[in-house]
Amino acid sequence: MSQLQAVNDFVVKFANVNGSGSASANKLFAQSVLRMGVPATPRNIFPSNIQGLPTWYEVRISEAGHQGARGGTDLMVQMNPQTWDQDVKSIVPGGYLFYDSTRNVPPSKFRADINVIGMPLTAICNAEYTDSRQRQLFKNIIYVGALSALLDMDPGAIETLLADQFKGRDKIIAANIHALHLGRSYAKLHLACPIGLTVRKADKVGDRIFIEGNAAAGLGAVYGGATVCAWYPITPSTSVAEGFTRYCSRFRVDKETGQKRFAIVQAEDELASIGMVIGAGWNGARAFTATSGPGLSLMQEFLGLAYFAEIPAVIFDVQRAGPSTGMPTRTQQCDLTAAAYASHGDTKHVLLFPEDPYECFTMAAEAFDLADRLQTPIFVMLDLEIGMNDRLCAPFTWDDTRRMDRGKVMTAEELEAGRDFGRYLDVDGDGIPYRTYPGTHPTRGSYFTRGTSRDRYARYTEEGDAYQDNMERLLKKFATARSLVPAPIRRDAKEATKLGAIYFGSTAAAMDEAIELLAADGIAIDALRIRAFPFNDDVEKFIAEHDQVFVVEQNRDAQLRAMLVNELEINPKKLSRVLHYDGSPITARFIAGAIADTASSLKIVPLRKVAT
């Protein structure tokens, strides 16, 4: 019987029943690994349900710092009989199965090529506790304790975490530590400790922080000067608004008066949400909403209004598997074209693609400057993978000399001085006109905002020339946006290569690792991470410099690829699709496999082989 051996490089998967308190215990485990200085990347795989259905928590432990999902499980912590069969199946040969041996499981349910570790958790719990809720909650801590012994982890790190989590509540801390050691002692006494997989203290976490993307986005909105949030709950975006609420309560409440320098309205639906955002943006406040695919569909009409009437707005789309209700708790990158071309008629919208919580923070803050500067909706495209999973990322920074860029707003003084004001008049040649806030000047600067056509001075007209002039100016404005939005990040291989890959968002972690895997196999590939739409000139340049470019994305219809062809007039044959869209996070193995297959079929010979 082989026993998988690995130090700081394996995947632990917890299979639980949701609503059982397992989430916090599993997070405790992940954080303990981090406290030992070893990067750990947890992922929630949860059903569209509140209580009673299966949920998984997959932790990839990687000293090398790989944060993408890997595929396969090395240690399965099986706490849910309902999913036993599929969970046992997912264990790699030589891997480990940890389960609650209180109930009898027939030998046929196991596999000959895995190592089985049984611990009578329920029996231990029932002997120790009488209250049913305590039994349920402490069972989770007990198995964390057992794992700490099996994986040779530092119990001190776990104790410190418990003390931090329940600060001030000494009784609870003591109870948890007791449960922890109950599990740990049992394991040391009755199980073979440690197993082949161990966690060893390292120094690979550094000063990085651990936070989910949605919370980071909410924080970015606070730092970006947002005062108005109108939203409607939808998985997986709800925690953006919750994060904003939490951070506003911390940072935006006057200590003496209790007055709140923000307003958060839970609207009756997504249409009202975006309507409020637009009303607030029109009236000079920085406003945003957070939603997912179905909400984006509902908002289409208003988005067209904001585009045509040129009103700042920020929309966080935390994408999930579509279409329609789709899979509310599974990840995908499938709203690109719906966002980029939102609403009927000819429209084009600015999109931002953060890759991790750090960029969720920076791009959220930046989105408000862009919205005001460009006077248009800005979409920050997250997905469930980034939004709802805690992730190690660079610590947030802020330059205290930074000021909000409110864009072109004509003041009362300028109006009084007789400056010419036309709401849709291009004065600087960048396609961006001046606007005025309502209530600015007694007799000057007022105008009508509407979704209908009008001339440069906001006077209603149906004349073709005036309409077309305006439409062309909107294109000019979009071209100006190219130099203002985040530029792509290019990472070239050590050797010169004619193969390239384009990717964005949550694909990044898997892509970085895939490049290493391919390089080890002799396939060199240059990579470009797109961070916004409209596409920076570097994107066109990158494609021109390579013979074949793989566009890696998580949707069925290759939406980014379609946009590249459409916007940059690229020959479609030059762009190969690499698509993963089953609702699970993309893996490095998948990307590397797909690229290697295509590369060999393209008969592009890896440079190393040429030398022999």
């Binding site: 000067g225 005062t227 108005v228 007055q259 309507g275 009303g279 406040a285 209004l305 309502p438 209530g439």
Partner: protein, 351 residues
């Protein structure tokens, strides 16, 4: 007639209000609505009300949806910022605008199609939230701009111009407003300026969600025999419960009324609503009694008009949100951005 621009000159003796504005300063462009349209009378009443209240025109924000009535903001308050949004969605835009700057006066103009069909949800929720606004529905029972379809406020049994009978139950926005907690509710008729102007004045002075349902006959599509929203029908069935005067706080009340015939309501801003009762059993401060009265009299075929309900203790959405007196749109980096030190502390808590 409507393509001629309005002359800028006015009579030298034209009265000005306390701000030095004449009535002309509260006007907008010339109306392009049908000659005789009820909506134009409502626009005139709005102009009149704003002039008499001495409101600074640029401090009013006028918002509307889509439809004939939603076109009217162009025809009044030319110095105000206006927002003609999308069909049925004016309330959310107004709510957002109000949140951004609590200091402006918000006037939402809508129609029965805009507010009772596609916009029914947003109408209801804006009122529930207590948004400080004057929400006027210009109610003609049809979709005028798309040429005469029944709207959701059309009475059951009413006949269209082509003889089609409406078989659906009508929506009564006043009853809904009462149930949803609006704190100033009135119904009037575009043909009755003496009733309508004070109602609008009271609504503009009111701090809370003020709603006015104003029947406004559509001369093109719903002013014929068989219509229940025509000039003739409304005049015949109008049952006003009171007559309103809005008195600003500084003025004195002349006490010369028969006892029990006048109700004085003092609003938050100090203004007084003097209600001369026409129906002696009507109490405009009793919400439940108002609900009953309306149902009873409607069943008799009466169109109950006047100031139907007012809550002098009303609060508005900003009260519930706990926002400061300083508008959110005026805040600067110092007030909004927590800074790098706070961020460092936060980072530390995330390790």
């Amino acid at each position: 007639m409507t393509f001629l621009p309005k002359p800028k000159l006015h009579h030298p003796k034209l009265a000005s209000n306390e701000l030095g504005f004449t009535r002309r300063d509260y006007e907008g462009s010339i109306s392009t609505l049908c000659a005789g349209c009820g909506h134009d009378s409502i626009s005139a009443a709005i102009i009149h009300a704003c002039f008499e209240l001495n409101l600074p025109p640029h401090r009013i924000a006028k918002l509307s949806g889509i439809g004939c009535s939603s076109k009217t903001p162009t025809y009044f308050l030319g110095s105000s910022h206006g927002f003609n949004s999308v069909h049925g969605r004016m309330p959310s835009v107004l709510t957002g605008a109000n949140i951004a700057n609590r200091d402006l006066i918000y006037l939402g103009v809508s129609g029965d199609g805009d507010s009772a069909s596609i916009g029914l949800g947003q109408f209801a929720h804006a009122i529930r939230r207590g948004v400080n606004m004057t929400y006027i529905v210009e109610n003609n029972g049809v979709y005028g701009l798309t040429k005469g379809q029944f709207s959701a406020t059309a009475d059951k049994g009413a006949k269209s111009k082509r003889g089609v009978v409406n078989l659906d139950e009508p929506i009564d926005l006043i009853s809904m407003a009462l149930q949803l907690g609006a704190t100033y509710i009135g119904r009037s008729f575009s043909g009755d300026k003496t009733q309508l102007v004070p109602l609008i004045k009271g609504a503009l002075s009111h701090k809370g969600a003020a709603f006015i349902d104003c029947i406004s006959p559509c001369v093109a599509f719903n002013n014929h025999e068989g219509s229940t929203k025509s000039f003739d029908y409304v005049r015949e069935h109008n049952a006003a419960v009171n007559f309103l005067d809005v008195i600003e706080s500084r003025e004195e009340i002349v006490a010369d009324y028969a006892p029990g015939s006048v109700e004085i309501v003092r609003q938050h801003d100090g203004s007084l609503l003097k209600l001369r009762k026409l129906a002696s059993d009507y109490d405009a401060t009793d919400r439940i009694a108002a609900m009953n009265y309306l149902q009873t009299h409607h069943a008799r075929g009466e169109i109950v008009t006047g100031l139907l309900y007012v809550d002098p203790e009303a609060d508005d959405m900003h009260g519930y949100l706990g926002t400061p007196a300083r508008p959110l749109n005026a805040m600067d980096d110092g007030e909004l951005c927590p800074g790098s030190l706070a961020l460092e502390r936060l980072n530390a808590s995330l390790r």
